[in-house]
């Protein structure tokens, strides 16, 4: 760019007018690429295998059939998979929010010896990748007899250092005068936690709950390792393991995939703001 400032200024006008319109071309193409796989998935879940093999170029079914959605119940222990995923993601999320907020309250609101040490200890665990703990935890669960059980799936994941960190920051932003006032009124720590801190931290609690639920609902590696029988699998683990072995019908597998992403998809459309805010501020998925 060796043009003088004047020339740039003069030339910028027509380009500047064109550019905002022009950018929609690549963005539009990108958006189509982003959305077509989901439309195709939905389409295949309503297609027969014959239709799929005869017209692979078609985005939508030639004839709609429900056999994929019926097959899900017949060929997979689907109800169990859904139930396991709901229990695993639901209970773990509830426990995480409770335990993380309790821990964060102590770290943010109570002065005691060893507080900084505890905080750094929690932070330090964040730096180590989850895979490092995988094998020892597997062996611990084996010795506890917790492999292939709900407690084995849930308890090790029932607190998250990240949640503690996030909630501590949120609690620190609440003015201390509020709990001073409550303390003068004779409230103990637990009452301050429940009646002052928690109600004032709803957005942070929602963020922690949402991100945790999403991560657990979608998690593959952890349920794959802790569970070993079809009755204990979660949706991601079940779909992965049945796909290609017991179940070869594409409609059935993609019907399963569609159902498994439905709860988060619905939540996304209803509460998109929270997803965006949560992901953008924390980078956690």
């Amino acid at each position: 760019m060796t043009t003088s400032t004047e020339a740039v200024g003069a030339r910028r006008r027509p380009i500047a007018r064109l550019l905002p319109g022009l950018r929609w071309l690549p963005i539009g193409v990108g958006a189509v690429i982003a959305v077509v796989p989901f439309l195709w998935m939905l389409g295949v879940s309503f297609r027969s295998e014959n239709d799929l093999f005869a017209h692979p170029e078609s985005l939508l079914p030639q004839a709609w059939t429900l056999h994929g959605y019926l097959g899900v119940w017949e060929q997979l222990p689907f109800l169990r998979l859904v139930l396991n995923t709901v229990v695993f993601a639901g209970v773990t999320t509830a426990l995480t929010v409770l335990l993380d907020s309790l821990c964060a309250y102590a770290l943010a609101r109570i002065r005691f010896r060893g507080r900084t040490l505890c905080f750094y200890l929690v932070l330090a665990t964040l730096m180590v990748p989850f895979q490092v703990t995988l094998i020892p935890v597997f062996i611990e669960l084996f010795h506890l007899g917790w492999l292939n059980t709900y407690q084995g799936l849930i308890i090790p994941r029932a607190t998250s250092a990240f949640g503690i960190f996030l909630l501590r920051q949120a609690f620190l932003s609440i003015p201390p005068d509020l709990d001073e006032a409550a303390r003068i009124d004779g409230a103990g720590h637990f009452r301050i936690y429940r009646q002052v801190i928690l109600p004032l931290s709803k957005p942070a609690l929602a963020t922690v709950a949402l991100l945790n639920f999403m991560a657990l609902w979608n998690d593959l590696l952890w349920p794959l390792i802790v569970t070993s029988t079809p009755e204990m699998r979660t949706l991601p683990a079940g779909l992965t393991l049945f796909g290609g072995t017991h179940v070869t019908d594409h409609a059935v597998l993609l019907a399963g995939a569609t159902i498994s992403l439905l709860p988060l998809a619905i939540a996304f459309f209803l509460a998109q703001r929270y997803f965006v805010a949560g992901v953008a501020t924390t980078g956690l998925k």
């Binding site: 077509v36 993380d100 309790l102 935890v137 998690d219 992965t240 597998l253």
Partner: protein, 314 residues
């Protein structure tokens, strides 16, 4: 040696409990409620995170296969064996290639999308959601859909190529195309997430900086290069770090799409760790892989922190 490991296992738990007991006594004999608030979390973190981290390193110093009669201490033997193992170099190479390509493309595409979709408007919001939606969906579902989409017989991509008279490629069975295909899907899934991070960063840039640039007659490109990019450097660093760490740990997508194949051409460090640890039950060896992964993450993170700070112009 198993006795030694078992002993360690027993030492771990009382250690944290002892500390809990000792602290409050020192503090004016008063019982400290903080420990009660923290007890459940600290117990879980201690038993299922902190202790396993330590013990994992200990495992990595042993030649231990589950079910084997002996578990001899081999020092750094597993690490030496790793660095002589072509399988490990293969997984490391794939992981690094995948990480570099996907992180660079994600940053460029995510930033471009963020700039293009920065102004709020009804259409912009819908398009943003379209790009962001895959972030919410599990890698399992996404991997499954793309595995079928890329299938030469039933996939839409093969079908369209065929209809256009082009050969339908068998992407995931090809030793040259499988890794690029996995990288593509990884980018496809994450680009909306990067876009959202950058939109947040861009919106925080004070408008006066742009005005000052425009008054000086800077071109759009100059504004992007000399005003926008330096202003969002912290966001750039944050996004790069997060994406790098995630890419180095990639498992789900590969496991579902290719299982590491064909002939290990998409094998990553974590799929290798999974195979060694939970299929071959080579506990010591798999633990060593996890520590190499940890070291790699630390090294690259430190490097990135340094690079971004080095360019400091403020």
């Amino acid at each position: 040696m198993s006795a030694q490991t078992a002993l360690r296992a027993r030492e771990g738990a009382p250690l944290s409990r002892a500390r809990e007991g000792a602290e409050p006594r020192r503090r004016r004999r008063r019982w400290q409620p903080a420990w009660l608030f923290m007890a459940p979390s600290l117990l879980i973190l201690g038993v299922f995170v902190i202790y396993p981290i330590l013990v994992s390193f200990w495992y990595s110093l042993h030649d231990w296969t589950i079910g084997a009669a002996v578990e001899p201490f081999v020092g750094l033997g597993n690490y030496i064996a790793l660095f002589q193992d072509p399988q490990f170099y293969n997984a490391l190479g794939n992981t690094v290639e995948l990480t570099i390509v996907s992180v660079v493309l994600l940053i460029v595409l995510g930033l471009a999308l963020a700039i293009g979709l920065l102004k709020d408007g009804p259409v912009t919001k819908i398009v943003r959601s379209t790009f962001f939606f895959p972030t919410v969906v599990s890698l399992t579902s996404i991997g499954l859909v793309w595995r079928f989409l890329l299938d030469p017989d039933i996939g839409l991509i093969g079908g369209i190529s065929h209809a256009l008279g082009l050969p339908a490629l068998d992407w995931l069975q090809s030793t040259t195309l499988a890794l690029p295909a996995v990288i593509f899907v990884d980018i496809w899934k994450n680009v909306g997430f990067v876009m959202i991070i950058f939109i947040g960063g861009l919106k925080a840039v004070p408008g006066e900086r742009y005005e000052a640039g425009r008054l000086d007659g800077a071109s759009e490109w100059q504004i992007t290069r000399y005003i926008t990019l330096p202003s969002i450097r912290p966001t750039l660093l944050f996004a790069t770090l997060i994406l790098t760490i995630q890419s180095l740990q990639l498992f789900d997508l590969v496991y579902v799409m290719t299982g590491g194949g064909p002939i290990f051409h998409t094998d990553t460090l974590v799929t290798e760790l999974f195979r060694e640890g939970f299929v071959n039950y080579r506990t010591g060896y798999a633990s060593a892989i996890s520590w190499v992964l940890f070291a790699l993450i630390m090294l690259i993170s430190a490097l990135q922190l340094r690079i971004f700070r080095y360019d400091d112009v403020d």
